[in-house]
């Protein structure tokens, strides 16, 4: 759902001179699957063994009771992610400026609470104004 909403905002993101990438711990073939299914105009990157997610401090290990439920729903994380550690990143959205500084961060332990893309667009507009004023 969030990827689709970001796809809808992609023209605005590009208009503001920015780029967008999505990162998941899944192997490339699953990234390809979601990229095709949602007809995404941005890259889906494969963060194997959650190395980047760990650097951002987002990674948690699934409790055993949750593993069982995921298995029932057909979410085979060991296959999808190519590791047996059953780790996931918390959903997060960052805006990074050209100096490499994080200018906006939204991290949620609850995957049903996500910021609207319009909030991200506002941050990019602000970055654009800063650049114009320099």
């Amino acid at each position: 759902m969030e990827l689709e909403a970001l796809q809808a905002a992609l023209p605005d993101i590009h208009r503001l001179g920015a780029n967008l990438v999505a990162i998941s711990p899944e192997l490339e073939r699953y990234g390809r699957s979601v990229h095709r299914r949602l007809n995404l105009g941005f890259d889906v990157l494969s963060d194997h063994e959650l190395q980047v997610g760990t650097q951002f401090g987002l990674v948690f290990v699934l409790p055993d009771y949750l593993k069982t439920v995921y298995a029932q729903f057909g979410s085979k994380l060991d296959e999808f992610n190519g590791e047996n550690a059953f780790r996931l990143p918390m959903p997060a959205r960052y805006v990074v400026d050209q100096q490499g500084l994080i200018r906006s961060a939204n991290v949620s332990p609850d995957y049903t609470i996500r910021p609207d893309p319009s909030e991200t667009i506002r941050v990019l507009e602000e970055l654009g104004r800063e650049k114009d004023n320099r």
Binding site: V21, S24, P25, S33, Q55, P89, A92, P109, I113
Partner: protein, 87 residues
């Protein structure tokens, strides 16, 4: 409908226990417990935040081609979204 309205809509349908998800009450309780434990862990508060420096990374995209955050940042600001997967 905004993204959050869609998510709320999904959550309401899922937690109703009815179709199309037909989620048993025990499963709904497990999801609540897991989210609450993750919240209580304080992990989200310790993650990178505004004014922190973003780690530089190079990861393969959906076609197996490497994508570098440094190259993208040379062109403009970068929006990064982390998600769980295709499921």
């Amino acid at each position: 409908m905004t993204l959050q309205q869609k998510l709320d809509d999904f959550k309401a349908k899922f937690e109703s226990g009815g179709p199309p998800y037909n989620a048993p009450k025990t499963v709904i309780e497990i999801f609540h417990r897991a989210t609450e434990e993750l919240r209580q862990s304080g992990l989200a508060e310790r993650a990178l935040r505004s004014d922190d420096r973003s780690p530089a990374f190079t990861l393969n995209n959906q076609d197996g081609n490497p994508v570098s955050s440094v190259d993208l940042l040379a062109k403009g600001p970068l929006v990064i979204t982390f998600f769980r997967g295709h499921w």
